[in-house]
Symmetry: C2
Subunit: 320 residues, 2 copies
């Protein structure tokens, strides 16, 4: 992260002249954008709009971006719709930030400040290390805005703790190897974790995995639950925990099969993959998603699939 | 809509002093918010942020709303998290708008301008007429912003045309009665339609239905497709049609079972529920979603389920 301390401070200065942020991203990067909504919102007071790229690209009717700092997130930095949003922002004179693993990419070329993921070439089609690096960059900008860049120093250690859960993930994945669909639930900062885990499961295992905030889940989708329905819940110590546990209690009352990724003792199930108890809630998506990535990886193996060659996907997806 | 011509003009005046809009909503109302993102974005130039209510409620760290007009959408007007967003906006001196079926509700009480859905009591648990009324209110505000409130006059007629497709919906639903999961695809204005249809199918039939923008679908989820996988595509005449058809061609090449809700001749499948060919793209979600609601309704009946009593749901969901 030393790589980005300077750019994060520059990014923070761009925020300070703005009233809100617009984030343009797709797929895994869009899930990093969801994390930014909570972090830059709750910690730094900036409303974040996850934009709809087609308004810029297909309809060619870009909105007026007065007051906005515009952030593009893309591993490859090559998706034309994301580049179009930053180019439009630039032409409107708005400040732009790119979070990318490719500092030489067209996306980086359109940005005033580039946060380089520095994750090295990501060989796997389903993004993993670039996702956690994106979260770390977003967290770093948040820290720059509160005037402290020391808070992330334990994050690498927390990730190592998560990597030690691989055996648990493997055992649970074997138990759930017959799974064909599941719901993935989280709230607040871990809303993003739920979305990214559902995407990872879907990409690697072809299981139909649906992510929800626990609140949205009650507004309709809970209707799909029946006995044995697999539910993956992300539960982190912090402000959202009571509400999340209340919903998971309802899930258990409907006899769903619950697995939790959690850093506290959620007493009503034994099927937990645990991550670092001492991590602050706002940073918990980083170690939590690593546990989930391991689960998705072993679920693919348990199903006899090759996690390096997910069906129908390529590393770089160019959409307009 | 005569009911709301005055309030829509007042709402438009509130927009004119703002740089962007923040929308707070859950479930079906959140899908109306997705429509607002495109309509107020592409037609009126306002970036729209679908907010994360937990930042206001659970974390009690509301962002600074300078420059924002804040819109709450809720059928009942009673969900505490949505009310909390409007109350915070009011305390920050920001203009507020409620779109609700309950003009006497707490949500309406916190708003400077109330757009009354006027849909009458909605007896069904799964919202249908209140959703189309929400879309119409959002469209009316857009029209007020461009200085014309005449453009919606044919909308009721287009809905009637959709209601005439009930026999086709019933036949297709019978054919797909064994369906256990499906993907629902749309882009641009009909991104919202795809999300709402997936929710309706899920609520009424317990089929695991996943909505995607056609662009996001290529960034990962397309991996779940295999021979016979059911896909519902919303295809409306207009600017997004080429991109949507290109993705649906890929879906067909993977031997998925494709049903389209469309107002043009999409030549590669016969399984189409058709809506009014002459409707403008930006208004097409209204007649399109009605066709899809009929499909969901008949799918429930074909599965021997009671669409009036979806499992696990209540009419008013209060979340924090």
């Amino acid at each position: 992260m030393a790589l980005n301390a300077g750019p994060a401070r520059e990014a923070g200065r761009l925020f300070e002249d703005c009233q809100y942020a617009v984030v343009a991203a797709r797929g895994t990067s869009d899930n990093a954008g969801r994390y930014a909504q909570y972090v830059w919102g709750a910690r730094n007071g900036y409303p974040v709009s996850l934009t709809t790229p087609s308004v810029f690209s297909i309809y060619e009717r870009p909105p007026r971006l007065d007051g906005a700092v515009v952030v593009g997130i893309s591993q490859s930095g090559e998706s034309p719709d994301i580049i179009a949003v930053l180019e439009e922002a630039k032409s409107q004179g708005r400040p732009t930030i790119a979070i990318t693993n490719s500092p030489g990419s067209p996306l980086a070329g359109t940005a005033d400040v580039v946060l380089d993921l520095g994750a090295g070439v990501e060989g796997s089609v389903a993004a993993t290390k670039t996702f956690t690096a994106q979260l770390a960059c977003i967290a770093l900008v948040s820290e720059a805005l509160v005037g402290s860049i020391g808070g992330l120093k334990d994050l690498a250690h927390h990730v190592e703790t998560s990597l030690e859960t691989e055996a648990e993930a493997e055992v649970l994945a074997a138990r759930f190897s017959g799974m064909e669909h599941c719901a993935v639930l989280g709230r607040g900062y871990n809303h993003a974790t739920a979305f990214e885990l559902a995407l990872k499961i879907q990409e690697l295992t072809q299981v139909v995995a649906q992510p929800y905030s626990t609140a949205d889940f009650l507004h309709g989708p809970i209707a799909v639950l029946e006995g044995g329905y697999p539910v993956l819940g992300v539960v982190a110590r912090g402000d959202a925990v009571d509400e999340v546990e209340e919903v998971l209690d309802r899930v258990l009352a409907l006899n769903a099969s619950l697995v939790t990724i959690s850093n506290l003792q959620y007493e009503t199930t034994d099927d937990t993959i645990g991550f670092a108890p001492e991590v602050e809630e706002w940073l918990s998506p980083v170690p939590a998603v690593v546990c989930g990535q391991l689960f998705a990886y072993h679920l693919a193996l348990a199903k006899g699939l090759d996690p390096e060659s997910p069906r129908g996907l390529h590393k770089v997806t160019r959409t307009i």
